[in-house]
């Protein structure tokens, strides 16, 4: 939540297969080495599993409980996705309104900034009482609120990035303000919207998951982590953590892919 705005297109791919191998191989190697060291550390020092289970034990639990973990990922992922879509739509629409009506921007800016500093998951218990503890609504709303902030700020920034030369050009064409918006302002803003979405994607997963810690129905990753840990099933708890990491990565990579796709022709 600390970086609501950043520049799009800062990450660009486009290297060959050998380049890919060179970028992928070292981190994979490092990961393998780290896992082996971790396992060695746990085995040699006989660390108790409730302090830190070995990666092999976690992997074993992950394999055995794969169906449960995947179910948890689906529940939490669904909440995160609904929140992401909802927050993104509201964020983009409000940003467009703010860009069109400066007065609205002046009114909204401090409120949105306040949203950015409030730990949004703290709202979860209140939302559970509002929407009932049996519904997923509270979690989706928490995710949506967390998503809204970076999407709003990035979109608003993008809408203001129209280059002066493009503005002059549109004026020289005597283009109507709607034509100028459609031809120049919106396409300029699109990469920024997707940068906001990239930042928001991991926030959506984190918020939806953490919100589960505060109540609501069982089945999601967050609830599963807490219940596995409280029944001393540490390997299983870690297996769910692994599932959360995978879910977060899925969201992030999807958003990153989209961002790269739309930023190909971004103004340099």
């Amino acid at each position: 939540m600390s970086t609501p705005a950043s520049t799009p297109g800062s990450v660009r791919g486009g290297r060959g297969a050998s380049g890919l191998a060179r970028t992928v191989l070292p981190p994979v190697l490092l990961g393998v080495v780290a896992i082996l060291l971790w396992q060695g550390f746990v085995t040699v020092l006989a660390v108790k599993p409730f302090i830190l289970p070995g990666p092999f034990a976690i992997g074993e639990q992950f394999g055995i409980n794969l169906q449960n973990v995947v179910n948890g990922m689906v529940v939490t992922g669904r909440n995160a996705l609904i929140g992401l879509v909802l927050g993104a739509i509201v964020g983009v629409l409000l940003a467009i309104l703010s860009a069109l009506l400066p007065i609205l921007d002046e009114m909204a800016a401090p409120i949105v900034a306040a949203f950015a500093v409030v730990p949004i998951v703290a709202l979860a218990p209140v939302l559970y009482t509002m929407f009932g503890a049996n519904a997923e609504t509270a979690r989706q709303l928490v995710a949506a609120l967390a998503v809204f902030v970076p999407v709003y700020f990035n979109t608003l920034k993008g809408l203001r990035m129209v280059r002066p030369v493009h503005r002059d050009l549109m004026r020289s064409y005597a283009a109507s303000s709607w034509q100028a918006t459609k031809t120049v302002t919106l396409p300029t803003a699109v990469p920024f919207v997707f940068t906001g979405l990239r930042i928001a994607s991991s926030l959506a997963v984190i918020s939806a998951l953490i919100a589960e810690y505060f109540g609501g129905p069982v089945g999601g990753l967050g609830k599963s982590i807490t219940s596995a840990a409280s029944s001393s099933n540490y390997g299983l708890a870690w297996a769910y953590v692994l599932g959360s990491i995978i879910l977060g990565l899925l969201f992030y990579c999807a958003a990153l892919g989209l961002e790269k796709l739309v930023s190909r022709r971004a103004p340099a």
Binding site: V165, H166, D168, L169, R171, Y173, P187, R265, P267
Partner: protein, 275 residues
């Protein structure tokens, strides 16, 4: 009001125009001070002068991208505003200003698209212009795949899209290297000969101004004024080619412009009679 009375109207008529920019704390800068200038149809006029002499400001006023503080500007007998609304001019800036998400063809079609030209007609015109600026192999490319010179050629093609009888160009070759620049100048001369549009061309390169123009308007800064106007008699546009750059008259005009730019007092040399 002149349309009925005068059969030959000016392409551009600038009458006693001043532009004062008011900064914060009331500090004001006079970018242009009582500037008057006329450009005949089909004439190529360059505005040259050091930075801050108001040459770009003057061009922006003619394009109605800015409004004069005093004085009036007429383009083909109409107010600058009306001329802009009627799309009487095409414009090119120092930055190509292409839309990066559109192809070369898409960029050239942009003004036609905004003004409701049909798809087929747009295609055809864009193809014609791409041919004219020698980018036939690049119609489907995106701006970031092109060199600076090629981007600028696309921008020029775009400015010609609606066959304007007036072209406004604000240092369009300013960011190019010398060799590309000379090639672009040759092409511009050829294009002007083919389209017979009047051109107002802002530059701070003396050889460029002389090579391209019928008249060179030398401006001085703070406040922006026209110091002198030099007629360049180097023949018709269609006859100007690479060997003109080696021509005696070319060198002579270049040194005349240079003297006008650097000499503090206006010299007696107004025009070409003086040798």
């Amino acid at each position: 009001m002149t349309t009925a009375a005068a059969p030959v109207e000016h392409a551009v008529e600038v009458k006693a125009v001043s532009r004062v920019f008011t900064g914060r704390k009331g500090a004001s800068v006079t970018a242009l001070d009582a500037v008057s200038l006329t450009v005949a149809p089909g004439e190529f006029v360059s505005l040259i002068g050091p930075s801050g002499c108001g040459k770009s400001t003057l061009l922006r006023l003619i394009a109605d991208l800015d409004t004069p503080t005093e004085g009036s500007i007429e383009v083909f007998g109409k107010s600058a505003r009306q001329a802009r609304i009627d799309q009487d001019y095409g414009i090119a800036f120092q930055q190509a200003g292409l839309l990066p998400w559109r192809t070369v063809a898409g960029n050239i079609e942009l003004p036609l698209e905004l003004h409701g030209t049909g798809k087929a007609a747009r295609r055809e015109r864009a193809a014609e212009l791409i041919e004219l600026v020698g980018l036939s192999d690049f119609a489907g490319h995106y701006p970031d795949q092109l060199s600076g010179g090629m981007q600028q050629r696309v921008a020029i093609a775009r400015s010609l899209a609606e066959s304007p009888s007036l072209l406004l160009m604000d240092e369009p070759f300013g960011a190019l290297d010398e060799m590309t620049r000379e090639r672009m100048q040759n092409e511009l001369v050829r294009i002007c000969a083919e389209t017979s549009a009047a051109v107002v061309f802002v530059t701070h390169s003396i050889p460029e101004a002389v090579f391209l123009s019928n008249r060179v308007v030398v401006m001085s800064p703070r406040p922006g004024r026209i110091r002198d106007v030099l007629s360049v008699n180097l023949g018709r546009m269609s006859d100007r080619g690479e060997n003109l750059r080696e021509d005696e008259d070319f060198f002579h005009s270049v040194s005349q412009v240079r003297e006008l730019l650097h000499g503090s007092a206006p010299t007696g040399a107004r025009g070409v009679e003086t040798r």
